[in-house]
Symmetry: C2
């Protein structure tokens, strides 16, 4: 009547979750302690330092929220926006659109600028849009999970936002731990991410960081944040201050994320980025050989997430189903207007290996030649 879930490991080559390391899996089984246990609070202090390393920041407000990446997005927006605030969102994919939707639900007066899927913004385009109104907040996605594009020129964009009086919020869900990201050096006011992508932990926690200007904006609010659950002042009191009870955080998930962050710190950001690039280049050259061309131009193509064009006459959904059923490999389809045009192939965490690239390319080759 109640069968156990009993399937073996999938080869996860989608946009996340990524496969987790044996060390992270073992960390999950550490016996639970209470959410105010002195030893858990010590773990938080260590986890914060490791998150600051990953984000390259000294921000005091650096936590891992008890929710998925979307809770990080919602927390950043609900803390920074008061009803009627002007918000500008630069949209170059599905997750930019999600930012705009959540900002509007939080009462923001939202303006959008958009680029077609697969393109990114120039600094000038953003600067022109910033001139239209006095925006309190400008938000943009660093690495678009829906297209595999890296928005370049982030430091210059941050500089433009500040020159026009806006805070900058950066979605780093698919960039944190996967491509260079320097919160302090680039003057990013707020950023959030997710545990299950380049950080290679299970899904369920959302790293977030708020710099001095963003923190000041929260402290100067005239109305409380809509969300109690995602209120960062309450998080700060729980993590940094008197350790006041806010919610029953999951020790289990923090054991796993802290262990995954230790692995990142031991490898170093520099060597991880180099490894990701090397493995991605093997994928790109292999895809080109079997006439499955990468969709995004090389100069802003993400190493951790590749969109690949579906060859003429091929049903992309049948190929995905065969990869899953015959080869135990998960890749993802395209989003929105790219639904039938691309596949999305992730190479993150334990999924990021030359062996997995080889297995995938061989499977692709067999399936495409027996369609």
């Amino acid at each position: 009547m109640t069968p156990q879930f009993n399937r073996g490991p999938r080869i996860l080559l989608g946009p996340g979750p990524a496969m987790t390391s044996p060390r992270v899996m073992r960390a999950l089984t550490t016996p639970t302690v209470g959410h105010l246990d002195p030893d858990l609070l010590k773990l938080y202090a260590e986890e914060q330092e490791l998150l600051r390393y990953a984000f390259q920041t000294k921000n005091e407000w650096t936590f891992a929220l008890s929710g998925t990446g979307t809770s990080g997005m919602e927390s950043a927006l609900t803390n920074l926006i008061e009803p009627g605030d002007n918000v500008l969102v630069a949209i170059h994919g599905y997750f930019g659109e999600r930012i705009a939707e959540i900002a509007a639900r939080q009462g923001g007066n939202v303006d959008r600028i958009t680029r077609p899927l697969g393109e990114i913004f120039t600094v000038e385009e953003i600067e022109t849009a910033l001139k239209a109104k006095a925006y309190k907040l400008f938000a943009i996605v660093h690495a678009e999970t829906s297209t595999g594009a890296e928005q370049l020129h982030i430091p210059q964009i941050a500089e433009a936002a500040h020159r026009h009086g806006a805070l900058i919020l950066l979605d780093t869900v698919t960039s944190l731990g996967g491509i260079p990201l320097k919160i302090d050096e680039w003057n990013i006011d707020a950023a959030y991410s997710a545990s299950q992508k380049n950080l290679c932990s299970p899904s369920g926690l959302a790293p977030i960081t708020f710099g001095p200007r963003a923190k000041e904006a929260v402290e100067k609010r005239t109305k409380p944040v809509n969300s109690f659950y995602l209120d960062l002042k309450l998080y700060s009191a729980y993590w940094n201050g008197a350790h006041a009870y806010h919610h029953t955080a999951s020790a289990t998930m923090h054991y796993a994320l802290a262990e995954a962050l230790r692995e990142l710190h031991e490898e170093t950001l520099e060597l991880r980025f180099a490894r990701y690039r090397k493995v991605a280049e093997a994928l790109w050259s292999g895809l080109t050989n079997i006439e499955v061309a990468p969709f995004i131009p090389l100069n802003y193509r993400l190493p951790s997430l590749t969109t690949a064009r579906v060859p003429q006459g091929v049903d992309p959904h049948k190929v995905r189903a065969r990869l899953l059923e015959e080869y135990n490999i998960e890749i993802a389809g395209g989003f929105g207007s790219l639904k039938d045009l691309v596949w999305r192939i992730g190479l993150m965490g334990q999924s990021n290996s030359l062996e997995n690239v080889k297995i995938l390319l061989d499977a692709f080759d067999k399936i495409l030649n027996t369609k």
Copy 2:
């Protein structure tokens, strides 16, 4: 530089998290699959059936949200309340107050009725309050984690709410799986809970159920729900409908919760309630023997969470610290005005055993007699 968290198991006798079973711990290490994996969607279907068993409901909208119990509370309120809606909250402890605060943040026009800590409401008190205004929503806590009191007469209270045109929302964080709870038979419109209490899984998921009237209220909204992350229509599309992407739910946490729910189903609700009561009675009689009297009268005292009066002249915080440091036992202190007056002792999940009661009573006895 980055030491591993390496402490042995605590004996967790606080208000949750409870200790988890070896089966649940093993389930955590099941390899991750994607959030849209066909096998995970099958697990959701099973998990929903098991949640319906725990809640005693046939409600279609029965999910486990990707957050802690507080996210369940916030989801229920943000989905049911539109700005300006009249909301009545009956408060007999800290978590009732939390409901009122979140309801106000969601734009509700909130009225409160309160009982002193440790007391519960009569049906007449609630009926009188319901007459004051046309309330859209009435909310109350079934089992107050802050006091250890069970609010009795829930079916009669639900009937009164409906007679006065209000929906009833029941906080079942500490009741689900611990004391009888019959969502359909009692005509409860909406309820939420948490994974780490009587369900005995790690923290991180919030079971929720919405009946036909609550679902209709959500569907008739004129404005979108403030929260995108906790929007139940989007959850329904992900769990029940076309399995549309909403957020990257944690397969890991669902493996654990589904396994814990299987254990509940195998034991049966009836036998679990009987076991809880038997172990609680051993605690109560042992506490009375060492002159640490239970705070809540027997007729509405929760078996899964006992508040115990601190004897005259004893520093409750020093006793708690000694229990943790010398005996590796976690219990909790009182909330608010009960801070220096009671301890809170939980007996849930694997924590619920006669052995743990004996260990705790012996430790209490030694500490109180060597103070």
